[in-house]
């Protein structure tokens, strides 16, 4: 059974420039449960392309934030463009600055790096995540296939399928 277990570590600097280690608890609290992923076109489409002799774009790496508040996974729109992901629908999303905005929907496969967790998300929403350093927001459509254990006091998460 593929299991990802992470304890978060990071460093910061004091005002006089000295490095110091942040506690796993504070890193997980401040940055949230981030994981390394690769994204590529959904497997059903990749299979069909290969049968036709069409090259499948290579997976792209990035950081994803696990967002249990999101019903649907989002993929960075620049990554979606680089991967040539087809647009298969559009959705309207309410936003703070607009009444609603229309976003593209893409079929994507997300793999958690190093543990072999691969999940197809046929309806991932394109969003501008790159300015936040993110390739994806992992939503509940991904998590419905997983077990997620968030250990705040120790700054650890465990994700398995």
């Amino acid at each position: 059974m593929p299991i990802l277990h992470l304890q978060y570590n990071d460093q910061d600097r004091t005002v006089d420039g000295k490095r110091y280690r942040l506690s796993p608890l504070s890193v997980l609290h401040e940055k949230g449960p981030c994981i390394q992923i690769t994204s590529c076109v959904a497997s059903s489409i990749a299979e069909q392309l290969l049968q036709q002799g069409i090259a499948v774009p290579a997976p792209l790496p990035g950081i994803a934030l696990i967002d249990t508040g999101a019903s649907t996974t989002c993929i960075d729109m620049k990554i979606a463009a680089q991967l040539n992901l087809p647009v298969i629908d559009v959705v309207k999303i309410a936003s703070a600055s607009h009444t609603s905005i229309v976003q593209n929907v893409h079929p994507v496969m997300i793999e958690v790096v190093g543990v072999g967790i691969r999940i197809d998300i046929p309806h991932a929403i394109g969003a501008n995540l790159a300015p936040h350093g993110l390739a994806a927001l992992i939503g509940r459509d991904f998590l419905q296939r997983c077990t997620l254990f968030y250990n705040g006091p120790t700054g650890e998460i465990t994700l398995s399928i």
């Binding site: 069909q48 392309l49 069409i54 508040g69 647009v87 929403i125 927001l137």
Partner: protein, 86 residues
């Protein structure tokens, strides 16, 4: 994007609801590629026709499924533009 397909879907939805409720339809332009039991089958049909081109895949149902992404809706993450410069 997909304006023609979406217009075609809306125009035919009531008829499709009578004949194919709950199925997934794949549409390119005004051509229906088929009605499928699974979204994977609909995606394969679309890819067979247009490769990595765009096509509409939607479940035939009266009420569309709700999408809730508070990080986008509340502006914590901006869906369509870079965050304001601080």
């Amino acid at each position: 994007m997909l304006e023609e397909e979406l217009e075609y879907y809306e125009r035919n939805l009531s008829d499709w609801l009578n004949h194919y409720p709950g199925k997934f339809v794949a549409v390119v332009g005004q051509d229906v590629l088929g009605f499928f039991d699974t979204i994977d089958d609909a995606l394969q049909a679309g890819a067979r026709q247009v490769g990595l081109g765009s096509f509409l895949v939607r479940r035939i149902q009266e009420v569309e499924e709700n999408v809730s992404i508070p990080a986008l809706s509340l502006g914590i993450i901006y869906a369509d533009s870079a965050p304001p410069i601080q």
